[in-house]
């Protein structure tokens, strides 16, 4: 079969929002059986473009051709009818429904759960995506949830499959399985649009690529014929920045010690922590890998003091602090950068200066017991200058900043408190490449000044870049840490799926 007509062709698509042009004259085409990458940073306009194709957002200008015919897609239901399937980055699943119920909701056919369950089983096995149709979605791992989304698309017999950052939450092994499935679908004639910012994935999977930056197409390429450097230049306009990790020459002493920490969760969808033990020394970064939902939220709550535990399970610089709340632990030199920047790390509607007060008030921002706003203002100004925060000044509302700049401000604010221990969750989530590199280097520099840093992240590459030692949190249990030089992505990935022996867990006798 030699298809001559593109399955999908976009011509001069433009979409403007009040403050930004999300897509500016974007054109691309995908052939049947082709795996086509859309490569670009956060904010490059990839997701908007995909939503336009899927009918969830309407373009201001431009044309769309489907198998050569001009179409206007008004809503997702119509897109599905044409044969367009979409696997969302933030899953569109319902946690308290079962797998088969979730799938039934998008199928346009008589409601028969029993018959559908059989088909789900059959299709999932045919494509190597095993699923139990009757499990509740909240009990599934992230990889399994993604399978539900893919199987849901496959049952609609798609002609075009769109995947939005599908690997951001998968273990390396799960990524390989996903790629096998996608290659199989392409061989059957399905056109695939694969959105990502991960260069090596695109090089190993995709036949062709459209690269976007700032809403515009900056290039088209055959990924296998390019190098990561040339792709990066198209994507961010320059070389990929690299972090440097100089050796630490100061005194090595334990700053954070966690001893057999167990914690049950109040949340019915939460995870129980089981005897987690861990040490972080001054001058090093310890990374905890793992997929969210494996106890990350519980561990962070216990370490930051949002949840208090037994006194002697957590030690901060030689003092038992398990029973102390977050404020008392901060008094003793702990700082915490949570995953949610807006709402937990910063108050969205407040200015940066007032956000500086939230944790910075310990730096003497008071005068006769009243808030000294001039000091908060000066603190925020200093933070903005020192950490290269691009914003409208200390008076700018936190929510007006981009993710990267707000994260720089929050991390900077905490660093200026001269901590002994810093705990950071997902430091570069949703942050552009330039700001991510800056943040990573900032953390490295801070650790080499003698601060102990604990980083919890889903991004394996990031942890391998900055951590001195790496451990894995899976199903509420923490593996033993291993020096970065001895760890490899393969074995860490296996541990992320919960495959580590009892002997390797953190509480085993050394």
């Amino acid at each position: 079969m030699h298809p001559t007509e593109p399955r999908l062709q976009l011509l001069h698509i433009t979409k403007r929002y009040p403050s930004v042009v999300a897509n500016d004259d974007v054109s691309l085409s995908v052939m049947p059986g082709e795996i086509h990458a859309i490569l670009g940073e956060n904010g490059a306009g990839k997701s908007t473009l995909m939503k336009i194709i899927y009918g969830a957002v309407k373009a201001d200008a431009g044309e769309m051709l489907w198998n050569g015919q001009q179409v206007a897609i008004a809503n997702p239901a119509q897109a599905r009818k044409l044969g367009i399937g979409m696997v969302f980055q933030h899953f569109s699943l319902f946690e308290t429904l079962t797998v088969v119920e979730n799938i039934a909701l998008v199928l346009d056919e008589p409601f028969d759960l029993a018959a559908l369950a059989l088909r789900v089983k059959e299709v999932s096995e045919r494509y190597g995506l095993p699923l139990d149709p009757h499990r509740l979605v909240h009990s599934l791992s992230v990889g399994e949830r993604q399978r539900v989304e893919i199987v849901r698309c496959l049952l609609q017999d798609p002609k075009l499959l769109i995947l939005d950052e599908p690997t951001s939450v998968l273990t390396p092994q799960a990524v390989q399985k996903l790629f096998e499935t996608l290659r199989r679908l392409a061989a059957e004639g399905v056109a695939i649009l694969y959105i990502s910012h991960k260069l090596h994935e695109i090089q190993s999977l995709c036949d062709s690529a459209t690269i976007m930056r700032g809403g515009k197409v900056t290039g088209e390429a055959i990924p296998r014929e390019e190098t990561p450097a040339t792709l990066a230049r198209l994507m961010i306009g320059r070389e990929l920045p690299v972090c440097e990790a100089p050796p630490y020459h100061g005194l090595v002493r334990p700053v954070l010690q966690v001893e057999r920490l167990s914690l049950t969760s109040d949340d019915p969808f939460g995870t129980e922590l089981k005897e987690v033990s861990l040490t972080v020394n001054a001058g090093e970064i310890v990374g905890i890998a793992g997929i969210s939902g494996n106890g990350q939220a519980e561990l962070l709550a216990a370490l930051s003091g949002e949840a208090t535990v037994d006194r002697e399970t957590i030690w901060l610089d030689g003092e038992a602090v398990g029973h102390l709340d977050a404020g008392r632990r901060r008094d003793r030199g702990l700082v915490f950068v949570p995953e949610e920047r807006l709402g937990r790390g910063a108050v969205p509607a407040l200015s940066l200066a007032r956000n500086a007060l939230l944790t910075g008030h310990r730096q003497g921002m008071k005068h006769w017991g009243l808030v000294a706003f001039d000091k908060a203002q000066a603190f925020a100004e200093q933070c903005i200058a020192r950490f290269d925060v691009r914003c409208g000044g200390p008076g700018a509302a936190a929510r007006s900043l981009s993710g990267g700049n707000l994260q720089k401000f929050i991390v900077g604010r905490e660093i200026m408190l001269a901590p002994k221990l810093m705990i950071v969750a997902q430091p570069t989530w949703g942050v552009d490449v330039g700001a991510a590199a800056f943040l990573r280097q900032t953390l490295l520099d801070l650790s080499r000044s003698g601060v102990a840093i604990l980083v919890i992240s889903e991004e394996l590459e990031e942890l391998f870049e900055i951590s001195d030692r790496i451990a894995v949190l899976a199903a509420g249990r923490l593996s033993a840490t291993q020096p970065r030089a001895q760890a490899d992505a393969e074995s860490v990935g296996l541990q992320m799926s919960g495959l580590f022996n009892e002997a390797e867990t953190s509480n085993a006798p050394a």
Binding site: G55, A56, N75, P76, A77, R80, F88, F91, S92, L93, F94, E95, T96, L97, E101, A104, L105, V106, F111, D266, D267, P268
Partner: protein, 306 residues
């Protein structure tokens, strides 16, 4: 006492009927993610609309119930306009609706203060009604009681077995996800809220045209609030709601008989008993926080803007 039992149980079913209607309606609305605190107001609007229609036409409950349903649905649609279309705070809109309903029903009711209606004769099921104890309890009731059981069965079946039920649950849990896969979240929530209003209206009309067929100002007497509480404590499950409603009905009738026996207890305390007993028992049943969280429609009370 045993002689009283059939009488008490039969009265229980009738006393629980308005709570079943109003509670089922609110349950459906809350499953879709909308908390409507205007149940008490919608019941009163339904009560006066039903009473007025029945009094003016002379057809009793047969015309009063549909009229109450329409009036309740219209009141709910107004609530929906503010809470759904304009995404205003649901709690505030609901409270406003209740206050409005109390006032409006009292205003219209001025004309009907001295009226009374004939009420309804029980529908006696032949043979079955002769069964000792159960017969008079289950098979000698007015037709609205049977209707409430049919409504219960219909709602329970729809929620558990149909695509519509699944969709309601999906919209209540994750409206963004439902929107992303192409469902009209606002329209579905309108449907649920208007259904809830119609059911509250029927509940009110039952009170004014059948249960005590005369107009008394503020005659729902807090039953709308009990219905809202029942839904939460029943963890959004129809069967538990039904049991809660019968518990309330049972204690209501029991305390009437206690009053009749002339116990040395203040009447006000006895009258408060059904409310107290229902709340206490349901709090005990639903003290399992995990159960509550698992069944709680996650988006309950949060406005959705597509």
């Amino acid at each position: 006492m045993l002689d009283y039992l059939p009488l008490i149980l039969a009265g229980t079913l009738a006393a629980a009927t308005p709570l079943i209607f109003a509670g089922l309606g609110e349950l459906v609305a809350e499953r879709s993610g909308v908390i409507n605190l205007g149940v008490e107001g919608m019941m009163l609007i339904g009560a006066i609309a039903g009473f007025a229609a029945a009094a003016e036409t002379g057809h009793g409950a047969a015309i009063g119930l549909p009229a109450g349903a329409l009036a309740g649905a219209a009141a709910a649609a107004v609530f929906g306009f503010f809470a759904l279309s304009l995404a205003a705070n649901q709690a505030a809109c609901g409270l406003a609706l209740t206050i409005f309903g109390i006032g409006l029903s009292a205003f219209i009711g001025q004309h009907y203060v001295s009226y009374s209606l004939p009420g309804l004769q029980p529908v006696v099921v032949p043979l079955l009604s002769d069964i000792p104890l159960l017969g008079p309890v289950l098979f000698k009731q007015d037709w609205v009681v049977y209707l409430s059981l049919a409504a219960f069965a219909l709602v329970a079946w729809t929620l558990a077995k149909t695509r519509l039920g699944l969709l309601l649950k999906a919209v209540g849990e994750a409206p963004e996800a439902a929107h992303a896969i192409g469902y009209p979240v606002i329209a579905i929530r309108y449907g649920a809220v208007v259904f809830g209003g119609a059911m509250a209206g029927i509940a009110g009309a039952y009170l004014s045209t059948v249960y005590t067929p005369l107009w008394v100002q503020n005659m729902s007497a807090g039953r709308g609030w009990i219905a809202v509480a029942l839904v939460v404590f029943a963890t959004w499950k129809p069967t538990r709601l039904l049991l809660g409603a019968y518990l309330f009905g049972f204690v209501t009738i029991l305390q009437f008989h206690a009053q009749g026996l002339g116990l040395q207890v203040p009447v006000q305390l006895l009258a408060a008993l059904p409310y107290l007993a229902t709340i206490v028992v349901l709090v005990l049943i639903s003290r399992d926080r995990k159960l509550l969280q698992l069944n709680l429609p996650a988006s309950l009370g949060k406005p959705f803007l597509p």
